[in-house]
Symmetry: C2
């Protein structure tokens, strides 16, 4: 994100605005999302939203691309890294943010502005995190060279998506505990698959 012309950007305003956008978009979808409502919920001026994101599509795409906080993952071994990645993704799926992603996937097929923006929403933070994890794992000899970060990400994120897709909200403690066991099974299976694929 490039800073505005000459004026330093307040990161907290960005974060509040993007979180509010995910919330409004999740509840109301494309047609129900307005700068007015986002400004109100975020407690920021509408003009500062317009300055940062010139169109509603830009605002929604920025909101969907933001906030996964996967930069810090580096436990020293691939299994630890994947468990941490899986935990963050699971927590995100249980938050309201997941609903915004589903809404986007559903509406981007019918709403031209969103369809055009879909190319920009590549869930790039997660793919980039997967790329860093794979690079280190290959260097350490834990994964074979040529391992696809996209496949890794599709398997981990996709399974977690399925796992949580029809969970009733709010999530109970029993479900949370069961899901910790699930994540271990998931990471073990995916790792074994990536290691033994060419056997």
């Amino acid at each position: 994100m490039a800073p505005g012309a000459g004026r330093p950007r307040d990161e907290r305003v960005d974060q509040r605005a993007l979180a509010a956008t995910r919330e409004v978009f999740a509840e109301r979808g494309w047609f129900g999302t307005s700068y007015d409502e986002v400004a109100k919920r975020a407690g920021v001026g509408k003009s500062s939203l317009y300055l940062r994101w010139g169109t509603k599509a830009e605002l929604v795409v920025a909101a969907l691309n933001e906030g996964k906080h996967l930069e810090g993952i580096d436990t020293g071994n691939v299994r630890g890294d994947l468990m941490e990645l899986a935990r963050v993704l699971l927590a995100r799926q249980w938050s309201g943010d997941a609903a915004a992603s589903y809404r986007f996937a559903a509406e981007s097929r019918h709403v031209p502005e969103l369809r055009d923006a879909a190319a920009a929403v590549k869930y790039s933070e997660t793919v980039q995190a997967a790329r860093r994890i794979v690079r280190r794992a290959v260097t350490r000899g834990e994964l074979p060279p040529g391992t696809s970060p996209t496949m890794l990400n599709d398997l981990i994120s996709g399974a977690i998506m399925r796992h949580t897709m029809v969970t009733a909200h709010p999530v109970t403690t029993t479900v949370r505990n069961r899901s910790q066991v699930y994540l271990v099974e998931l990471v073990d299976t995916v790792l074994a698959g990536l290691v033994h694929r060419f056997d």
Copy 2:
């Protein structure tokens, strides 16, 4: 589905009605879906809809649970079965039906009627297909006893969901061809994972 009291059900009417429901729900969501609109698009009487599905939630859940046609998969080996499963799921993701599922996942968090119905939408056809595939594979010695059909399904369906989630529509021939290669890589990786998980 139990037949109506004394009167034989016309399966084609059911199919048309449920396909129309998926279409309307995908486009307009819960609040935009009405018996009126479904009856109009399906070309069936509104009263026959009410007879079959007494509430809108029942109608939507029936529509989401129907139409995957996975019963016939049985190629004689687990790899063939999984490739066929993957192909059907990919085709479904590219159809309008996927948008209905995403819409459901998004809205079931905010709409009480849908939240209550979520437990009934377990994507049961796919899980049942996975169960049959695993049972035969274990008998043939292709997969270890105790292999989880749910994990298998989460990995295959989930990865395909991620793979197609932000694909621009309509899908181009290039994307279709690339996806065939992707499915082979996916099935090989998942199979290796399930076989070698306990190594």
